[in-house]
């Protein structure tokens, strides 16, 4: 890493180059971005994709109050005080979000939830949560993205559209790059897409298995059967829309591969079946190891959603959907996951970090969220921030805030921020809330 400051004509706006900055817009977490920074504006983001450029160019300092209580500007100290008070008074608080902040901030959020005996959940529960459950059921045959780059000669993108959602996955890690055992890059790789839609990714692959909606499980099971040499009849085509002959051809290619990878997205986890679909895909990769090397990796969305899984797992033993109210962690998706807790109208306070559930939860969950006391930390204005009791404007991780994030293959990567923000980081704010909560809890113990 190097950060060089070069004086320009306008001395108040020095030009700064940040080499190998990290983009946190998607789970690829590309850490080879060269930024040109003029004052508090990033003007160039070399190596970034179209999404990454939009991420870097649109994070300038907005003129918003540092904190709001009931929609009115408040001092930072008042807001910290009120936030601690809400959480301490709550009978059933939940902590939610966390996928767009640093691991350092995630740790503090876990600690707060532990001190107040609340429910701990992250955006994983509405993204690859089902895969998290499937890992516990069938395990995960995994690898790093570097291994994909250097070894993978057969790629199956399943229920995802990386051409639009993770643009550099193709060029940096999976489809295109020349690697040690795939020296000709794209020419040495066969790529398959499993998707109901003919997306932009379909144009980049060799074979598109355009399955019928809601038949991922059946397709994975049919492939598992073929992997084991079990004869199938034509009902497979009726159910999945894919001719048996084509499936056999794909299986043949899969068996001949030296290193195969299934990269699966939310088309698998969000469709009826959910964790059972993820299990089927993971089990297929596991079964293929009787023939050759195969792995399966979820394509993770938010910049540090993988960090959230890691931090929450190393702290509590479970990745999401955890209740800490009894003094020890209990894991139960469907019970302690935020969509359910809010949908059933149970929680009475929420601490929401860098997430916008009021825009993307179901209507019953949204209605309940609006009715309870919420504390929201977000760099940008959102629907969730608008309904918050206490709202903090925060500095943006990766752009203003240093720290650690995890790439989608569980590799920790440091952040190299571009310029300072007048706002505080999630870490600082959460630390202050935690301090205030402890102070009051200890005072109550001493007084009692």
């Amino acid at each position: 890493m190097s950060i060089a400051e070069q004086p320009t004509n306008e001395t108040e706006n020095p030009l700064k180059i940040v080499e190998d900055a990290t983009c946190t817009f998607c789970g690829c977490v590309c850490d080879d971005i060269n930024l040109t920074v003029e004052g508090d504006q990033i003007t160039k983001a070399q190596n970034a994709c179209v999404l990454g450029k939009a991420w870097f160019f649109n994070h300038h300092i907005e003129e918003r109050p540092e904190a709001l209580i009931d929609g009115q500007p408040a001092t930072y100290e008042q807001a910290i005080d009120r936030a601690a008070e809400i959480l301490l008074e709550s009978q059933y608080p939940i902590t939610y979000g966390l996928s767009d902040t640093t691991c350092e901030a995630q740790r503090v959020a876990v600690a707060i939830t532990d001190w107040i005996g609340g429910c701990l959940d992250t955006t994983t529960s509405v993204c690859h949560g089902p895969s998290g459950m499937a890992f516990q059921g069938v395990g995960e045959v995994t690898c790093s993205l570097g291994e994909l780059k250097n070894r993978a000669d057969y790629l199956i993108y399943w229920g995802g559209n990386p051409a639009e959602s993770h643009p550099r996955h193709f060029t940096k890690y999976s489809l295109m790059p020349k690697g040690e055992f795939v020296p000709k890059g794209r020419k040495d790789r066969t790529a398959v897409l499993v998707d109901v839609r003919k997306t932009k990714t379909a144009k980049a692959v060799d074979i598109h298995l355009q399955l019928k909606p809601r038949s991922d499980f059946e397709l994975a099971w049919a492939l598992r059967a073929l992997a084991k040499g079990i004869e199938l009849d034509d009902s497979v085509e009726e159910k999945t829309g894919i001719p048996l002959e084509q499936l056999k051809e794909v299986m043949d290619g899969m068996k001949k591969a030296k290193f195969g990878a299934i990269l699966f997205g939310m088309g698998v986890t969000m469709t009826r079946g959910k964790h059972i679909n993820s299990e089927a895909v993971l089990a297929l990769a596991r079964d293929m190891n009787e023939h050759t090397r195969w792995v399966a990796k979820p394509m993770r969305g938010h910049g540090n959603v993988t960090g959230a899984d890691n931090v929450v797992s190393w702290s509590t033993g479970y990745p999401f959907g955890i209740h800490l109210g009894r003094g020890y962690p209990r894991f139960n998706p469907g019970e302690f996951t935020s969509s359910d807790v809010l949908g059933r109208g149970e929680a009475d306070a929420a601490l929401i970090i860098a997430s916008d559930p009021y825009s993307n939860f179901s209507q019953p969950a949204r209605d309940h969220l609006k009715a309870i006391n919420t504390i929201v930390l977000d760099p940008k204005l959102s629907e969730t921030a608008k309904i918050a009791k206490v709202a903090f404007t925060t500095a943006t991780y990766g752009i203003n805030v240093p720290g650690t994030v995890y790439r989608m293959d569980d590799i920790p990567i440091p952040l190299r921020p571009a310029f300072d923000s007048p706002y505080r980081s999630d870490y600082e704010i959460l630390k202050a809330i935690e301090g205030k909560i402890r102070e009051r809890q200890l005072a109550a113990v001493n007084a009692g």
């Binding site: 817009f25 998607c26 179209v50 999404l51 450029k53 939009a54 991420w55 160019f57 649109n58 994070h59 959940d121 529960s125 509405v126 949560g129 089902p130 459950m133 559209n161 051409a163 639009e164 959602s165 643009p167 109901v196 839609r197 003919k198 997306t199 932009k200 355009q210 909606p213 809601r214 939310m266 088309g267 986890t269 969000m270 469709t271 009826r272 959910k274 964790h275 969305g301 999401f320 959907g321 998706p333 469907g334 019970e335 996951t337 935020s338 969509s339 359910d340 949908g343 916008d356 825009s359 993307n360 939860f361 179901s362 209507q363 969950a365 949204r366 940008k380 204005l381 959102s382 629907e383």
Partner: protein, 115 residues
Amino acid sequence: MTETFILIPGRTSKQGTTLNEGKYTEGYQTEINTLKMNPDDMERLGIAEGEDVRMWNEYGSVVVPCSTGKDELPPGLLFISYGDKSSQLMPGETHGSGMPDSKGLDVQIQKISNN
């Protein structure tokens, strides 16, 4: 005339770029509020490019402009970017998984001007 379709909410690159510009920009709002449909389905139902349709299921009802999904969508399938509109059609129930059915939703479609 009412017809049943399967709706796939998802992410698009335009949604990603406009999201960074801000959730309250016209670009983002247009992207998350436009429904994509197979061109043959549009023709059969007499829906013109950009025309509003009502889309509903047992959980909610929304009105959205409809646009051609070109060759991306097979007949019977609809696409919309994740956002407020798609969330209104999402059930609260997660079947013990924490994840509501968020893709592959059965919805009814009706052209508004025929009402």
